[in-house]
Symmetry: C2
Subunit: 248 residues, 2 copies
């Protein structure tokens, strides 16, 4: 495992510098890339000894940041040499290095997210983020500023990968709209907008898209949501609060 | 070191999946960001078991790729809470998370580079790259496609960081131009263009820019280069081959 051309280190130990508290409590429904869903928010709590105020000095002057993170829920599943990315409708296999699948060697993730605010609570630095695609509890291993002049490549061409576009019209039953209004008043979280943006992307797995009228569910923050696929789109039919999450 | 909000993993072990063979044999002269110097080339050799052909299938359809790597020459120096980035002329300190300094927790680097070719030699997959900013021997821990629709953020604003621009007019003495012509014929490496692009950015440390007429030197591939700063720019005064590097 230590090849002749190696730089002399066959492996490298990284420390977790912080963790994500996100609206996404389960994998189902998470957009495939960041930036798709502006109402998808998270906070990154930075741990000691990496949470000293001066370590994020100047970060607030950047609109976006890169997060290096670990796909912690995929570690146990290992990595695969090839995967079927959703871009190709799940029909075609590509090399794992030719996509962003979590089932990759080292299970390293990379997301660019909007930096909404830098806060300090007790002895922790907290970054408020939006446009995220990160599971709650995601361990973060680095934070870097997004540098438009070198990161934004206008001339780059992108193979087969294209942006997701809204695929479904989303309706909410009256009691679900009331729930959202009350929830947003209480928490400040834009629940209805998040639901509309997320379900509008049609998060059903490719193989299940032909099964109309089935009930699907997902959890956002401390809320369980159920929706029914209809011929014209889909309707959110039930929303309820589940276990209260700790505020921080 | 294992905080209450951690996802349960205080650290994460990553394996080196390959190593960089680059024109940059020493830190001095390396551009601050990738994409600046198109003549700066490298090859990434992927190690077993990550070098199976199918693992890079489809990668050739992308013009650019992200490399996650380790700043291996900075590990021994540790990390610093604040650094003085070259953007600000080395005069101002910012938090290490607000810049791309190698002296960061976990010593993780991120570069977007142009993918010129995917080759297979013996049992190794090799990626030919250009526009690189990577030291020879850099250990790579992940390869990802650059996805323009989500990675290229036109609306992002970038704090104080700006692109480097050519700062010096570069002349080569006649014998140096002859050397470059012969070297390029023999190796195919665009040495003169690389020299002009690199030295044109004025790689001298901020504190040494006032000392004109001093000789500076750097190594590119197996070639040592010396140049003299003059009032009007700089002149390359000596080029010679040093220890022959192994072809691969």
């Amino acid at each position: 495992m230590k090849p002749s051309h190696s730089a002399g280190i066959p492996s490298h130990q990284v420390e977790i510098i912080g963790t994500i508290r996100s609206c996404f409590k389960e994998k189902f429904g998470i957009p495939r890339q960041p930036g798709m869903i502006t109402a998808a928010t998270a906070s990154l709590e930075i741990f000691p000894p990496f949470n000293r105020k001066e370590m994020v000095r100047g970060l607030e002057t950047f609109s976006h940041i890169w997060l290096h993170f670990v796909f912690h829920e995929s570690i146990a599943e290992g990595w695969r040499p090839t995967v079927r990315p959703p871009w190709l409708g799940g029909r075609q296999r590509v090399g794992v290095f030719a996509c962003r699948s979590p089932h990759r060697p080292n299970h390293l993730g990379l997301s660019v997210v909007r930096l909404e605010a830098v806060r300090f609570v007790d002895h922790s630095a907290i970054l408020d983020l939006s446009g995220i695609d990160l599971l709650d509890g995601t361990p973060v291993i680095d934070i870097k500023p997004y540098l438009p002049y070198s990161d934004s490549l206008i001339s780059a061409t992108g193979g087969y990968a294209t942006a997701e576009t809204p695929a479904m019209t989303v309706e909410l039953e009256p009691q679900c709209r009331s729930f959202c209004q009350q929830y947003e008043q209480r928490t400040g979280r834009r629940l209805e907008r998040l639901i509309r943006e997320l379900i509008g992307l049609d998060p059903r797995p490719a193989g299940q898209k032909s099964r109309d009228k089935e009930i699907f569910g997902m959890r956002l923050w401390d809320v369980n949501i159920r929706w029914r696929v209809t011929p014209g789109g889909c309707t959110v039919v039930h929303i309820e609060t589940c276990q209260e999450e700790k505020e921080w």
